[in-house]
């Protein structure tokens, strides 16, 4: 089934078991907020300044051990996060910050509320990326959470252009990664061995 990038964004957050989202809306993020409207499993906290929201996500992450998640719009929304991103990254706090961005065809044209978000945060974040293709969205969100919390934790910034948010595409998020891994395994072994492997994985998983 095809869903919009914004709907996939919400689905991916739910699969990451995000319970609190610190967010401040704007024109280039309005699709994402539309997708979040009425979603009960994710509590959205609206601060009064983006710096407040990123520090709050930082305090949440430090005190719970979970990844803090932020969502802001493009331009000033993103630049207002800079201090908080640097603060968190310096102290190895896992955050994933989603920033709205102008549509891909307008990037680089000095559009309204456009900045090179990834360029600005590159030196103060663990990883930063602009999503350029709708089909990469699910994988990038999955990667973002993994990178934020693994090894030395840090801040990951995912820049989401508006047209990517609007575009219809696959509704597979984290499961897509699993399918890709399975496809690779099937290439290496024959189908019978693969089914055996799946059976062992499903029944033989140790308790955490």
């Amino acid at each position: 089934m095809k869903i919009s990038g914004a709907d996939l964004f919400v689905k991916a957050l739910m699969e990451e078991k995000v319970d609190i989202l610190f967010a401040y809306p704007g024109g280039q993020a309005i699709e994402l907020f539309n997708a979040l409207y009425g979603v009960e499993s994710i509590k959205v906290i609206l601060p009064r300044h983006e710096q407040g929201l990123v520090h709050a996500a930082d305090g949440y992450a430090r005190s719970t051990g979970r990844v803090g998640v932020c969502l802001v719009t493009s331009g000033p929304g993103a630049t207002n996060l800079v201090t908080g991103i640097a603060t968190a990254n310096y102290d190895s706090v896992p955050l994933v910050c989603f920033t709205g961005q102008v549509p891909t065809h307008l990037i680089g044209n000095d559009a309204f509320q456009e900045v090179d978000t990834v360029g600005i945060v590159r030196s103060i974040s663990k990883y930063a990326i602009t999503v350029r293709n709708r089909e990469d969205l699910g994988m990038i969100i999955k990667k973002a959470f993994y990178i934020a919390k693994s090894g030395k934790p840090g801040v990951v910034v995912v820049d989401l252009p508006k047209d990517i948010q609007q575009k219809l595409g696959s509704d597979l998020s984290a499961t897509w990664v699993f399918m890709e891994v399975m496809r690779l395994i099937m290439q290496l072994t024959n189908v019978m061995c693969c089914f055996l492997l799946v059976y062992v994985l499903m029944t033989g998983l140790p308790e955490r």
Binding site: F22, R48, G52, A56, D58, A61, A86, T87, K152
Partner: protein
């Protein structure tokens, strides 16, 4: 021996690097190889997740009788107590406030802002299994503490959450009072109000002949161009934090006497649905001691009351 876990060993920790722990064998556990032996060379680097490393080490460790060593440490603590004599008339000192917090709260997350409030908190706060401190130790961001406390409360609704900040840092993200009120977060905001950007003011007192340049938060157009003598005649503080808190729909309590510290904290602790701002009026020129001036070794810390070389360089 120095056993360090996840330590950055940056300038704020080491002081003058050539003098730092000169005779120590240093063990350093860190998950990031780039942090190992970056500023000082360590003797035994362990690159691992601290949880795994400590677990593995504990499995192999033997219990020693360290009662003598603990006694030795206690005797040092008696000889050189951290509590410094305070100049305060009212008794409302950062020490008194934090000691009271230690006594009244068991399950606690405490955030600090940056500056003297941060330094006092790290000096006097008791950290136990049920008490956690969040602080911007790396970047040192003013305005961090209060919103971080909000995030901590959202993530840990059953814990008491206190934000300790100065009057400067609180104003950097004061707009979040609205967020705390509308989301019904009963956090306790303790503003240590000395009417200065205290840490910089202390440096100006120590190293710049009390040239309080752009550090006075009470300063108005009507003040003399040069002023380093805070007094009763100084203008009133802007804003009135209590009225500001109330305008947001939060509770505000002003504490100016030592006997009011405990009741204020207890009242704030009892709140269920809204934040409480407690404004503690502390001595204007309250200082943090001991302090290691930049470029000095840790052994050259100032305890307060010394004659200092006015030409001490600050970098």
């Amino acid at each position: 021996m120095l056993f360090s876990i996840g330590v950055r060993f940056n300038d704020r920790i080491t002081g003058k690097i050539s003098e730092f722990a000169k005779h120590a064998t240093i063990i350093h556990i860190d998950i990031d190889p780039a942090s190992i032996s970056r500023n000082i060379v360590v003797d035994i680097p362990i690159i691992a997740d601290a949880r795994n490393a400590i677990g593995a080490l504990l499995d192999k460790s033997i219990s020693l009788d360290i009662e003598d060593w603990k006694e030795q440490i206690n005797s040092w603590k008696q000889l050189h107590p951290l509590d410094r004599p305070q100049n305060s008339v009212s008794g409302v000192t950062p020490q008194a406030i934090i000691h009271e917090i230690n006594a009244l709260f068991d399950n606690l997350i405490i955030t600090t802002d940056v500056g003297q409030n941060q330094l006092w908190t790290t000096q006097f706060l008791e950290i136990t299994e049920t008490k956690q401190m969040l602080t911007s130790g790396g970047l040192g961001t003013m305005g961090y503490g209060f919103p971080a406390a909000m995030g901590a409360k959202l993530g840990n609704p059953k814990m008491d959450v206190i934000s300790i900040c100065g009057d400067g840092g609180m104003q950097m993200n004061i707009q979040e009072m609205a967020t705390a009120v509308v989301h019904e977060l009963p956090i306790i905001i303790c503003i240590l109000n000395n009417g200065y950007l205290g840490n910089v003011r202390q440096w100006q007192e120590m190293f710049f002949d009390k040239r309080y340049s752009t550090t006075c938060m009470k300063r108005r157009e009507s003040c003399p161009v040069i002023c380093n003598t805070p007094s009763e005649d100084c203008p009133a503080y802007t804003p009135d934090f209590i009225r500001l808190a109330e305008s947001y729909g939060a509770k505000g309590i002003r504490v100016q006497r030592v006997e009011d510290i405990k009741p204020a904290l207890l009242e704030a602790k009892a709140a269920i649905k809204s934040p409480t701002v407690i404004e503690f009026i502390i001595e204007r020129e309250e200082n943090v001691w001991p302090i290691v001036p930049p470029g000095n070794s840790l052994a050259e810390m100032f305890m307060g009351g010394e004659n200092r070389n006015a030409e001490q360089k600050v970098d």
